[in-house]
Amino acid sequence: MLSRIKPLLAERLVARHCLGALLGVSVLFGAASARAQVAALDLNSALFVEPSKRSGLTVWNPSAVLAVTPTNWLTVQGGYEADIVSGASESVKGGRLSSVDIVTSATHFSDTRHALTGGFTVTRATTHLSGSYTYGTEHDYRSNSFAVSAGTDFLQKNTQIELSYGRGFDQVCTTAYAASDAPSSRLALDNSRGCFTNDKKRASRDISLNNFQVGWTQTWTPVFTTQMVLSAALQHGFLANPYRSVVIASAGDQALENHPEDRARGAIGLRGKYYARGLQTAFSASARLYRDTWDIFGQTYEVDAERYLVPWLRVLVRGRYYTQTKALFWSDDYTGGEPETGPRGKYWSGDRELSPLSSYLVGARALATREGKPGQRVLGLFLSFSGSVSFDLLKTNLRDFTLGGHAPDDTLALLWSLGFRGEF
């Protein structure tokens, strides 16, 4: 892409003026369509595939959102999405000293999560207020979440502050152990039959979620803008996987994964966007630092570049690097006598997302947009429509995590996404 840069100054000036004219026209068209807009429909579909010989995973995620703007200050929206999951996973986690055959314990599963959402946004000259409610359900998990956010512009609209708060009331299905039962005697679920019924072998446990966020967006020059986001989250309740057992004794004794019931999480994200006139490309770079009370420290670094190939088609390429330390109580094995492979306090986990890991991601997206001319609709129906296609590849490096001493083979993930948006 960079090799296509025009080196001559005159050509750059012409291109700059053309771009300015193009952007000016698009602003006018955008403003016009925003005033006239009655409804917008978003249809999306994503496919996630994690290939593996024994524990592959496929998730199909279709979604639809309809937003209606009856007046220029109010938007009401409703949507539906599903996660259709099928694959296999190891139900028992043991480490390098394990006497249990972990790899062949992989069992097949499938489930579908349905989520319905509704919300509104009120927009005034320099402020906006949004509220939404989402209900999610699957065989072994239910969620109710509310979210509100408010934002304002000031300093001649060069500064924007956004505050948001989310509250979740979730329930997860587990086996019917009593709170007084020793954690080492608790059993994992082997299937979701009987969940959220009167079945005496099942119980539902609460999870309480609180999320806070504040964002500051600042425009510094006509081609440079930055954003800082601070996030905090409080979680309380059953925070383990109800299906996962962990080998906790050298004789092969297993117990339900046992995580702390409280987790406080904090993150700061810093990002900047810069438009390089000479390259006619918008560059973005971001860094995110994360810390929680389970002692995980995460760092994320991301860059992307986006430019128009032709006025109706733009292409984005992105790269991302992530690394994290392990949770304080995480170990690949809990059955040894020494600190590294022996007991680590009162908790045990088989969750690889709590292990020390790093990951690389590369991806690309193409997005085509067609705007109707004033007084005319595209295909006789749309004020505008756009379609996008993307592909991302994620490779994870699990530094210490093993399944009975064997490195997992499901560390490469592929994600395809298709999207369509029509305003009419």
Binding site: N61, Q156, N158, E162, T225
Partner: protein
């Protein structure tokens, strides 16, 4: 009662001073409405709510031990 170490306090104080200084300097940045053509373009806006980004965040939330600090709405033409 556990007290914060002086080293932590001085770091926090330094960060607060830096944050206040940065936010104060924001008042000096003046971009007039007629200079916002490029900023108004979708490529220069944060949180474009694109389908691919939402799907990607969904995957990463389930494959990593951290979350939060993501992009929020911001930037743009300021032409509401």
């Amino acid at each position: 009662m556990k007290y914060l170490e002086p080293r932590v306090l001085s770091k926090a104080f330094g960060l607060m001073i830096a944050a206040v200084g940065l936010m104060t300097s924001a008042g000096c940045a003046t971009v007039r409405p007629e200079q916002r053509a490029i900023l108004a373009d979708p490529t220069m806006q944060f949180d474009q709510k694109s389908a691919d980004r939402a799907a990607l965040e969904h995957v990463l939330d389930n494959r990593e031990g951290s979350t939060g600090g993501g992009s929020v709405r911001g930037g743009g033409c300021g032409c509401n």
